[in-house]
Symmetry: C2
Subunit: 472 residues, 2 copies
């Protein structure tokens, strides 16, 4: 009898092995040293293994931990302040984002991270101008972080419509250096990996983009980049270089397997295929771009061209939540609507995007995204004893995946385990007192509101009008 | 000092009075005899009123109870068995719906009703072939029911593509008589109203539709009707009468203020306006029709033409849940995408659809849909002390409605009150033991699955393929 750390017993395992969902039943999962050691016959596991912890989940289904590949958690302090508006960034978001202190951002970030974890996300693709505080908190919880610090050379000032951004490469290099410092300190510590995060092709000179790529390749990590994320970016790149962003990035040599390409909002189908063929991964953020732009980004075209695509929740001011289960439902529904075809983007494909396909897209499939021997033990338990998941069919077809994707809300996730450590048990995150962070964020609105008022009032956006009209 | 039944204290009330959201703060709501008696200054309410119950909700927002205007709760036993499929009804749903017993349907219905109530729905627009069991259970819980029994004259048999349905008016009249009987027994009892539910213009002869309308008008109730719900209906009506369903119904005199027109899936914009101008109400079911057809139904056109539109969750095999908060987010996002315009369908409009506008659409605005003196005390309390609702801003703009619509999941609803009776308190439905019904539905899958197998296997739909390919 072998002594191991953990045995997980449950009636259903979705391992995501193979080309489908890798369904297994009648098995137990053996975990040792933070890794999945074996799937063995549930009837004989107790004969062959003795575990420090038996996780016996009798009415549950086990999935790999979910991956949220693109989040700006430090914008969470502004949840619900920017939506239903054209020109989202300037007219809705900016008065508030200009009014936040770093302390506000950190308080908000922690609540966003808790929110994501409680809805089943175990791997967080956070992307902020300051990322170390996120690394610290994700590490404290015990989740997996796949984090990029955002940097740019374009000066932060108000530009007139049509005006080219002014580059300050010295500032850009200072910010890039800060990304290197956080890489040196955090990469490989706990479950944290650090990527490099140039903000977009329009925000840096070609020289700096190449420098960033060199740093990425030397360190064997990834570049996390907003790619052709809207007409404003396309305008800047076309005016400056005489070609559209995808072609610009391709000519520069940035499109390759070390790139995580986020959004592709303004890509046509051929540009989308060009990026997919390069080996880059994609992250699609359905609800965020739906709210901000009314656009369904081209993940289906990307996948048909052989690319891997992950899901992201983006940010709370314009989504307005960090719940990757919602994004699974959204990506299915939005694409069915886009193509007027109910067979486009079935539930199992969305589940793959939140697990193994997403892991491949962002380059964490060596450690997670599926439940396989030798991989990290990153998994969640979802209770089937819930209004949203009942009744459970296994014959003649299983309805568990469709109900998880189309009906679950997040509260069904009872346990989360990362690298063999139980980080959430019976809905309680183990290493923190959640209430403390909920209380802390309540202190922020007064100061943010007061500092934002003048610019918000001057811009007179649609939410200002809605306040006057008693519509908020 | 006046003695009353209840005083409700909370920091925020969304009364839905006026053209916006009717926001009130610093007030208390006084309830007596099941009705809203007054909104009074929170500082002085205790001086003027003494209540049997003080409902003090310090970190909550009060909304009118939500309205789900179109549900087939008796299909809930088939949750997750029919989606991601073309020709949903024939290839995905039918093998399973043919395999249910009435007992299965009733068990499923109860779970669906509980699910809806726990996500803030207080008024349920249920529509099944047998409605009395739903009336009984809704009455037991204490919620409001707005129920129609579905009837048809088209024989229930397998039709060849292109074949006209065969009418059996005698069968149709028997079924219509059953609707009259349930009306006579239940209409006006507790919080139950009974409507009349011909299944669709294609399923009855014109004579029977007119008979049904006469019965509706004599009884001062409403006709609940699927209207131009797809190309199959349009085909039948065009072939039989040489015109499309909307024109057929208009010429027959069915389009008027006593009609609740559901779906309008196949209506063009002019037909949509024609229905709106008639004074009929509309019910849009975003996620259901998104999953089944990949279509965004024309609620925006209907509203622009002056019509009132309610939201519905439709059915669990093809949605796959009964959560009207999800439908609020869906109707916003789907229409932003349809029109590629983030300003289309803002959060406040979706909230009106789930409350006062929905109440007008289905004709219950005399009793509910807004918090006004003299109306029934139908309201819900939503906790703001939740990850999905934090932080709360009131200055310079409120973010409560956007976060309720775009971020809340249902679990934030702590209390539900209907006609002054607390039907859910701290997430516990008062008059039933929820677990009993969750256990009961678990008995159904085995029998349904066995009875469905042969037809399901013979049809060999996409979910059959997905089972073979390990994608479920």
């Amino acid at each position: 009898m072998k002594k191991v750390d953990m045995i997980v017993k449950a009636p259903h395992f979705y391992t995501m092995q193979g080309e489908g969902v890798g369904y297994k039943s009648g098995v137990a999962m053996v975990v040792n040293g933070g890794k999945i050691e074996a799937f063995v016959d549930a009837a004989t596991v107790d004969r062959d293994y003795k575990a420090d912890e038996l996780l016996e989940l009798k009415e549950h289904v086990i999935f790999p931990g979910l991956i949220d590949a693109h989040m700006h958690t430090q914008m969470n302090v502004l949840r619900g302040l920017a939506q239903d508006s054209k020109n989202w960034m300037m007219f809705a978001l900016q008065p508030f984002s200009n009014a936040t202190t770093h302390d506000d951002c950190v308080k908000g970030s922690k609540v966003a991270i808790i929110e994501a974890v409680k809805a089943g996300t175990t791997c967080l693709g956070d992307y902020n101008e300051e990322i170390e505080s996120c690394a610290e908190f994700i590490d404290k919880i015990g989740a997996r972080g796949h984090l990029a610090q955002m940097f740019r050379a374009a000066k932060r000032k108000v530009y007139m419509p049509g005006e080219l951004y002014e580059f300050d490469d010295e500032m850009g290099r200072r910010e890039m250096k800060a990304n290197i410092e956080v890489y040196d300190k955090w990469h490989g510590r706990g479950n944290i990996r650090i990527l490099f995060g140039p903000q977009g092709a329009d925000f840096l000179s070609p020289e700096m983009l190449l420098e960033a790529q060199k740093i990425v390749k030397e360190r064997k990590t990834k570049m996390h980049l907003h790619v052709q994320q809207g007409d404003r970016e396309t305008y800047q790149i076309v005016k400056r270089y005489g070609k559209r962003p995808t072609q610009f990035l391709d000519d520069l040599g940035i499109l390759d397997e070390d790139l995580i390409a986020v959004h592709l909002t303004d890509c046509n189908d051929e540009e989308t295929r060009q990026i997919a063929r390069s080996g880059a991964g994609m992250v699609v953020n359905p609800a965020s771009i739906g709210i901000i732009d009314g656009i369904v980004c081209p993940s289906v075209v990307f996948q048909e061209a052989g690319g891997n695509c992950a899901l992201g929740s983006d940010q709370a001011p314009g989504n307005n939540c960090h719940n990757i289960i919602h994004e699974m439902k959204n990506v299915c529904l939005f694409n069915k609507i886009k193509y007027e075809d109910p067979e486009v983007m079935p539930a199992w494909r969305a589940l793959r995007m939140a697990t193994i396909e997403g892991a491949r897209a962002i380059g964490v499939d060596d450690v997670c995204g599926s439940l396989e021997e030798g991989k990290s033990a990153d998994f969640i338990a979802v209770s089937l004893n819930f209004l949203s998941m009942l009744p459970v069919y296994t014959y003649p077809m299983r309805n568990i995946v469709p109900n998880f994707v189309y009906s679950a809300r997040g509260e069904e996730v009872t346990h989360s385990v990362v690298a063999g450590q139980v980080i959430m048990r019976d809905r309680k995150i183990q290493n923190i007192d959640e209430r403390e962070y909920l209380e802390a964020i309540k202190e922020c609105p007064q100061g943010v509101g007061e500092r934002a008022f003048e610019e918000w009032d001057m811009l007179d956006g649609i939410n200002n009008k809605y306040m006057r009209e008693d519509k908020l």
